[in-house]
Amino acid sequence: MAEQFVSKASEFKDGDRQIIRLGEQEIGIFKHEGKFYAYSNFCLHQGGPACEGLTIAGVKEHLREDKTSAGLYFDEASMHFVCPWHGYEYDMFTGEQVADRKLKLKKYEIVQKGDEVYVVA
């Protein structure tokens, strides 16, 4: 495992993404609320570009005491990204597939040294 230079941290604005190739791997690097997250860009479903789709807050539902719905809402505390091929939705913080948490994208560690961002792979 070696640290590979990716980019200057100043080139990453909050909400930006970079898709990089490292040998035979493709990695999507996200910057969300000041933190970096990196996952394999190959969707677990059919190998689509998982990290290149929509980023969207998790949709949750308000339930009344009798368990009837009081409406849906965006939960800003959770952030998801969606594979553009068939809509597999992943948790940005863990890489888990939202509908089945047992499925996980390969996660890569990101190291920031000063203004430089490195991926450990």
């Binding site: 604005k13 930006d16 990089i20 190739r21």
Partner: protein
């Protein structure tokens, strides 16, 4: 006697050179030269060395930065040294290739008014979740709804068109029907009038 046409046809055939025979296997000297080139690696100062340097430093022009290595009369020694230095450089050089950069929507700067609107929306949603339906009193709701209608309509008219909701999941269909019905009733419009206006105006 051959006709002039036949002579003209025969002339280019005679002028043609026989095609060089394609040998199935290179000669011994060619094989030796190939092996020697493989063992030596990239020769300093050659076009291959320039291309290699340009790949490592994309900003460098092809003929600008060539790895400086001392030319030596002994070819084996000269070939061994640059191979080791280039290997060392390759270890430290980034192997990452950036395929795509995707800008986030968060790059759009929010105005203070937008920030206040976001905060108010969040507060209202939270209150609704807690069952507080009267956080905003009716006159305040009327003023807010009226202002939102006017601002959205003015933007639409001026060509600044955007979806009125962030996504399909933002509100339910029932919510939309209740609000649309109430708005139409407030200005004494019937649903068929809305339909007529939409078909005339091409909306």
């Amino acid at each position: 006697m051959s006709s002039p046409k036949a002579a003209a046809k025969a002339a280019p055939k005679a002028a043609r050179k026989p095609a060089p025979a394609i040998s199935a296997e290179p000669s011994k000297s060619e094989k030796a030269a190939f092996l020697k080139a493989m063992m030596e690696g990239i020769k300093p100062g050659s076009l291959a060395a320039q291309k290699s340097a340009a790949k490592k430093e994309p900003g460098a022009r092809l003929l600008g930065k060539v790895p400086k290595t001392k030319a030596s009369p002994a070819p084996k020694a000269a070939a061994a040294k640059p191979a080791r230095t280039s290997a060392k450089k390759a270890e430290g050089a980034p192997k990452v290739e950036i395929l795509r950069k995707i800008s986030g929507a968060a790059g759009v700067a929010r105005t203070p008014e937008s920030e206040r609107a976001f905060a108010l929306a969040k507060e209202l949603e939270a209150a609704l979740a807690d069952g507080k339906l009267d956080l905003i009193q009716p006159p305040a709701m009327q003023a807010l709804m009226g202002a939102l209608c006017k601002v959205y309509s003015a933007n639409e008219d001026s060509g600044n068109r955007y979806p009125i909701l962030a996504g399909r999941a933002a509100v339910t269909g029932t919510d939309v029907m209740i609000v649309c019905g109430a708005l139409l009733k407030a200005v004494d419009l019937q649903v068929f009038e809305l339909g007529m206006w939409q078909s005339w105006a091409g909306r």
